[in-house]
């Protein structure tokens, strides 16, 4: 196990380094960050001076060396656009992102698992159709549409919760519900199909025949065996939320997460900020996927790495 973890740690470092290098190279293929920084009316002299000042006139290898040396020390430099150290800018927004993404995934899981199981227990019943319909609407709905609808129904018409902002649980409700819709739909669908698959396998029939109660059969065998795709998908959804797929919900609810920051960093080609963001996201991805793989082992002890 510890050998596996050590190996995994090595590969994880490779992932983080790989992402950073890729981001560095790719952004240098793109347009000119200095242009995005200056107002449209800036003069050529000002533009050249800014390029020089920010070190964009150095050869790419020099720039890369400078970046690598600093990055190893945990210093990604100052955001070009916000004039502040890049990593703290990302880190100070992480709690809001974790709170929102975590709450959404919990809402999604708490609702999706029972919904999926109920649907799977009585396939093709009315209940199943209603559950599936809800799930599919959830996953095909545009998040800005759902978010704005909730805003106009709750705070504007009923005076409940807030349209936007951050601070109390009442601020969290609407963005978390909006963000939960898609994972809810997706997870409940995979729960339904996985449990259905397991229920149809003979061993569950065999277990039933041995006199176990239906519930015990279900929980003991089917769900456990169905867990791998469920865990995989849930982990993937969580990763995506933490990696910045919250951006639309952040914009709609004025939520101070990392998603908007990352999109701005990309659009302005704010390399230091982008690097800091990608570094943090890569760490999150690596940790979540490690946890998922360990969970696989716990769910199915035969799995060896």
């Amino acid at each position: 196990m510890s050998a596996y973890l050590a190996r995994r740690l090595f590969y994880s470092i490779a992932v983080v380094v790989g992402v950073s290098v890729a981001v560095f190279l790719i952004t240098h293929q793109l347009g000119d960050p200095v242009r995005m920084l200056l107002p449209l009316e800036a003069s050529e002299e000002q533009y050249q001076a800014a390029r020089q000042q920010l070190g964009f006139n150095d050869p790419i290898l020099v720039q890369f060396a400078r970046f690598s040396v600093d990055a190893v020390r945990g210093d990604f430099g100052d955001s070009l656009w916000m004039d502040a150290p890049a990593l703290p800018l990302v880190l100070e927004r992480l709690p809001a992102t974790f709170l929102l993404a975590g709450t959404s995934i919990i809402i999604a899981l708490v609702l999706a698992v029972p919904l999926g199981i109920i649907a799977a227990l009585k396939p093709r019943s009315l209940l199943d159709h209603v559950a599936s319909l809800t799930a599919l609407l959830g996953l095909s709905i545009a998040d800005f549409w759902l978010g704005l609808m909730l805003i106009f129904i709750f705070p504007v018409s009923l005076g409940l919760f807030y349209t936007s902002g951050y601070g109390t649980w009442e601020h969290l409700v609407l963005p978390a519900v909006t963000l939960a819709a898609r994972p809810l739909g997706r997870i409940s669908q995979i729960v339904r199909s996985s449990v259905l698959d397991e229920l149809d396998k003979n061993y569950v029939t065999a277990a039933r025949a041995r006199g176990l109660s239906e519930q015990a059969t279900l929980l003991g065998h089917a769900l456990r065996n169905a867990a791998i795709p469920i865990v995989t998908l849930t982990g993937f959804e969580l990763t995506r939320l933490l990696a910045g797929f919250t951006v639309v919900v952040e914009a709609v609810f004025g939520w101070p997460g990392v998603g908007l920051l990352a999109v701005d960093a990309i659009e302005r080609q704010d390399l230091p900020l982008l690097q800091a963001d990608v570094f943090v996201v890569a760490m999150i991805v690596v940790v979540i996927n490690l946890l998922i793989d360990l969970l696989y082992g716990a769910l199915d002890p035969r799995i060896r790495y």
Binding site: Y11, A14, V15, V19, A22, V23, I26, Q29, L30, G31, H129, S132, L133, L136, L139, S140, I141, A142, W145, F152, G185, R186, Q189, I190, R192, S193, S194, D197, D200, K201, N202, Y203, A206, A207, G220, H221, N225, I228, P229, T232, L233, T239, A243, G244, V263, I266, V278, A282, I284, V285, V286, N289, I292, Y296, D300, P301, R302, I303, R304, Y305
Partner: protein, 319 residues
């Protein structure tokens, strides 16, 4: 622990005759067409889904003939005409008009072409590639698994928007390039799901037995692993289709996809975003057709799932 799991290792799930765990199984998709059609007749849900899909596809293909207006024809004096059944609506515009006075119904008919093309092609590419990588990774394990999955990690962590901007900057915006960009980010979940399940499947008795019996890897994967992946992958496919159709909008809106005067369901939706307050129909109807497409696909997928699984199929036929 081992005790409670014991039943699950006894029988191969997809072997019809359970006494011959290692015998070759005729692939479910190779059954006669007649039987499939019979299944379909028994399954009204799938029928509705299939009919719905066919209608959408016919609509997309025959768009220039059935569309009441030129979808790009603007009329600034007729902005935001409500749907015909609403107050202020006009019988000339069944679903109303958008912010530039274009007929929403005609735009949705034409938008189907772009959205369905992009959705289905991207899905085909990502599902195939992702499943391939996932199965290889999970089946062979070890260093190969480690490398492939860390590649997936790198891509997961890498901002998709940055990939899109870079690629489109190099090769220009077009439908083909849009599919490429969506596919680059879309195969990861297929790989992770396929790999996770393969990890578990390859340790099952029937796979081990097949290996001991001298079956080649390719055969084991095709005959014993893939059939067990069909159901979850179909489920994922349905949801990814919805995601691709919506993601196309985000990219096209930024100028990374299709160009005016062409449009798609997602783009109509995105362009209506600012007008949800005063013209709900512009945002809502494209959302409804996207949801309906997903619904139809899911209905058909449910049937595909059941015909790929002999037990479910048996129950259905006799219910």
């Amino acid at each position: 622990m081992e005790e409670s799991l014991a039943p699950s290792v006894i029988i191969e799930p997809h072997t019809v005759d359970t006494s011959e765990a290692v015998t070759e199984l005729r692939h479910p998709f190779l059954r006669s067409l007649k039987e499939l059609a019979l299944d379909l007749l028994h399954d009204w849900v799938a029928m509705i889904g299939l009919i719905g899909l066919v209608v959408l596809l016919v609509m997309a293909v025959t768009a220039p003939h059935i569309s009441p207006y030129d979808p790009a024809k603007q009329s600034l004096r007729d902005r935001f005409v409500p749907p015909s059944w609403m107050e202020g609506g006009s019988p000339e515009h069944f679903l109303g008009t958008d912010s530039l006075g274009r007929d929403l119904f005609s735009r949705l008919i034409f938008g189907a072409r772009v959205s369905l093309t992009i959705g289905f092609i991207t899905l085909a590419v990502t599902a195939t590639f992702g499943t391939f990588i996932g199965v290889i990774s999970g089946y062979y394990g070890g260093t190969l698994d480690e490398i492939l999955m860390r590649w997936v990690d790198i891509q997961t962590a890498f901002p998709g928007l940055l990939v899109a901007i870079t690629i489109i900057a190099m090769i220009g915006p077009s439908v083909e390039n849009l599919i490429l960009v969506l596919a680059i980010n879309g195969w990861l979940i297929f790989a992770r799901i396929a790999r996770g399940m393969t990890l578990s499947l390859r340790e099952q008795v029937f796979v081990r037995a097949a290996r001991v019996a001298g079956c080649r890897d390719r055969r084991i994967i095709i005959v014993h692993i893939l059939p067990n992946l069909i159901s979850p992958l179909l489920t994922i496919s349905v949801m990814e289709l919805a995601r691709f159709i919506l993601a196309e909008a985000a990219l096209s809106y930024l100028g990374l996809g299709i160009q005016p005067p062409d449009s798609s369901w997602g783009l109509i939706l995105a362009q209506g975003r600012d007008y949800l307050v005063n013209a709900w129909w512009v945002v809502t109807f494209p959302g409804v057709v996207i949801a309906m497409t997903v619904l139809f696909i899911n209905m058909v997928a449910g049937w595909l799932r059941s015909v790929s699984d002999p037990h479910q199929r048996f129950k259905l036929r006799n219910s």
